[in-house]
């Protein structure tokens, strides 16, 4: 079913089969075992909820179309007899509450899935893993990293926390927006959209070191974003071309950014097409990954509520994030 056939009255029936689970290598077996034990028991209940939600959605859309047509007709009639000359955007105003009303069943269904199913999916990565669409990292802690660009509003989305290979990990989606004045109008500009990843670190440090994308010497000279931090010039010319490093402690910055660690950071930057910045502070490593992709999301409402697609997708996304711990070797006491 798609949106067109849905609107034209296609029959809504429960689906018991969707895309099968998918995983790389021999992980499929454990994925299937976790699915059978924890997620599959929930699918029947949620499939019934999905069908009910689609039926309610269609009914509300039909009612909204009728209501809108009636309001439009009355307004036009009133306008032509009274000669009020109502501007055309006003005719569209009733659409706003109607759209909100129509989307309610879907948003309720989606938030219930996130509250009841997603925590069980995340348990696959460890018993201490929690998922919450409402919880968020502390904004003041993030601000202290000195990585955040200037912004007016911050909007957090899904939050995940747990331990992987003995390293504490917290992941939070974040969007930062800023009001800008353009052509005598105020516009909202997105200055950051992506994921913040906070990782524990075996190395102890007291200072503050940030690794940001190379901004050029002139920008570094003019900018005051890294007050009280001084520029750290490192030996690797390729790394220097990609990143600028600022730190409150020149020696500690080099203690953290060893030659091999620089190599690993470059590897990560290649994986995330350069949209990668990080900060070492308060005994943690904070990674800021800019990305347009909305992670940990539900598939289409028109697909059956088997959650196999969601499970496979979340597993793929989490593996990508866990790979950072492996690439950076944060779990090893190598001293490198």
């Amino acid at each position: 079913m798609n949106i067109i056939s849905f609107l034209f009255g296609a029959r809504i029936k429960p689906k018991r089969q969707a895309k099968p689970l998918s995983a790389v290598g021999d992980e499929l077996e454990s994925l299937q075992a976790h699915y059978d034990e924890h997620i599959e028991p929930l699918t029947r209940k949620f499939e019934n909820r999905r069908v009910a939600c689609l039926k309610a959605l269609r009914l509300r859309i039909y009612m909204s179309i009728g209501l809108f047509a009636a309001v439009l007709f009355i307004c036009l009639l009133f306008d032509s007899t009274q000669r009020l000359v109502i501007p055309w955007p006003f005719y569209l105003l009733p659409l706003v509450p109607l759209c909100w009303w129509c989307s309610r069943p879907v948003t309720h269904y989606q938030s219930d899935v996130k509250l009841q199913v997603f925590p069980k999916i995340f348990r696959y990565f460890g018993d201490d893993f929690i998922f919450s669409p409402t919880h968020s990292m502390s904004m003041s802690t993030l601000k202290r990293s000195k990585l955040l660009p200037g912004y007016d509003k911050a909007h957090f989305d899904d939050y995940v926390q747990g331990t992987h290979r003995g390293i504490e990990i917290a992941i939070n989606e974040l969007a930062l927006t800023k009001e800008v004045r353009r052509d005598k109008r105020n516009e909202t500009k997105t200055v950051f959209n992506g994921v913040m990843v906070q990782l524990g670190c075996h190395k102890k440090f007291n200072g503050h070191t940030v690794v940001v994308r190379n901004r050029g010497s002139l920008m570094n000279f003019l900018s005051d974003s890294f007050k009280r931090l001084s520029r750290v010039k490192l030996e690797d010319p390729r790394f220097e071309k990609l990143f600028d490093v600022f730190s409150s402690d020149q020696i500690e910055a080099r203690y953290l950014l060893t030659v091999s660690f620089m190599e690993r950071l470059q590897e990560l930057a290649d994986c995330f097409s350069g949209q990668f910045q990080c900060a070492f502070y308060e005994d943690k490593l904070l990674i800021m990954l800019a990305s347009r992709e909305n992670r940990f999301e539900l598939g289409s409402i028109f697909h059956g509520a088997t959650f196999e697609y969601e499970f496979s997708q979340i597993n793929r996304e989490m593996r990508q994030l866990f790979a950072m711990i492996e690439v950076l070797k944060l779990d090893e006491y190598t001293g490198l």
């Binding site: 010039k233 490192l234 030996e235 020149q250 020696i251 500690e252 910055a253 080099r254 203690y255 060893t258 001293g335």
Partner: protein, 189 residues
């Protein structure tokens, strides 16, 4: 005449700015050197503890332990940070001590009792941590020295440096033993 005065004035300003930059670079080297000394001091404080534990088990390594004690005393001696040869001598001794400590750590492998001693294990872990900091301090120092030496040796910086008595500084280099190629067959036989 006015043009000449203006030119001279400009020249004086440029020379002064060049001088300021040279002094800043020299001070940066001194800062980096003091960073190394802080880390060397940490290592010096750690060495007696390691030696005390090692002495209990390592009867056959008496000469090595004595050498380490002597070198530690030499590294701890004060020196003139403005004198390039004194700095070089200090860094060479520090690196010699590093080499000898490395030898000691390898020798520990031959004493299973010592190797499994908890205090020794903890001391070795701390020692490795301090070594990582020394290595970082060395990278900072060498980076600062490269900047200073380039500024001092390249014309016209060389003239201003000689007038201001700013000299090139020595690099903190690895000792000869650690530069030597490793023959894996010596260890694998």
């Amino acid at each position: 005449m006015e043009g000449l005065l203006l030119g001279l004035g400009l020249l004086v300003i440029i020379a002064y700015l060049w001088y300021v930059s040279l002094v800043k670079k020299r001070n940066s080297v001194r800062e980096a050197l003091s960073g190394i000394d802080v880390q060397l001091k940490k290592r010096s404080n750690l060495v007696p503890n390691i030696l005390k534990i090692a002495q209990k088990f390592m009867d056959h390594e008496k000469s090595l332990l004595t050498e380490i004690t002597e070198l530690r005393a030499q590294v701890e001696k004060s020196y003139d940070i403005g004198d390039a040869s004194a700095v070089k001598d200090h860094l060479v001794k520090a690196e010699l001590l590093n080499g000898k400590m490395g030898q000691l750590m390898v020798s520990v492998e031959n004493y299973p009792e010592l190797k499994s001693d908890n205090t020794m294990l903890q001391a070795m872990q701390t020692y490795n941590e301090v070594e990582a900091h020394i290595s970082a301090a060395r990278r900072f120092y060498n980076a600062s020295v490269t900047e200073l030496n380039n500024a001092v040796e390249i014309f016209p910086g060389s003239i201003i440096a000689s007038m201001a008595n700013i000299k090139v500084m020595p690099f903190y280099e690895a000792d000869e033993a650690s530069k030597a190629p490793v023959d894996a067959s010596d260890y694998l036989n």
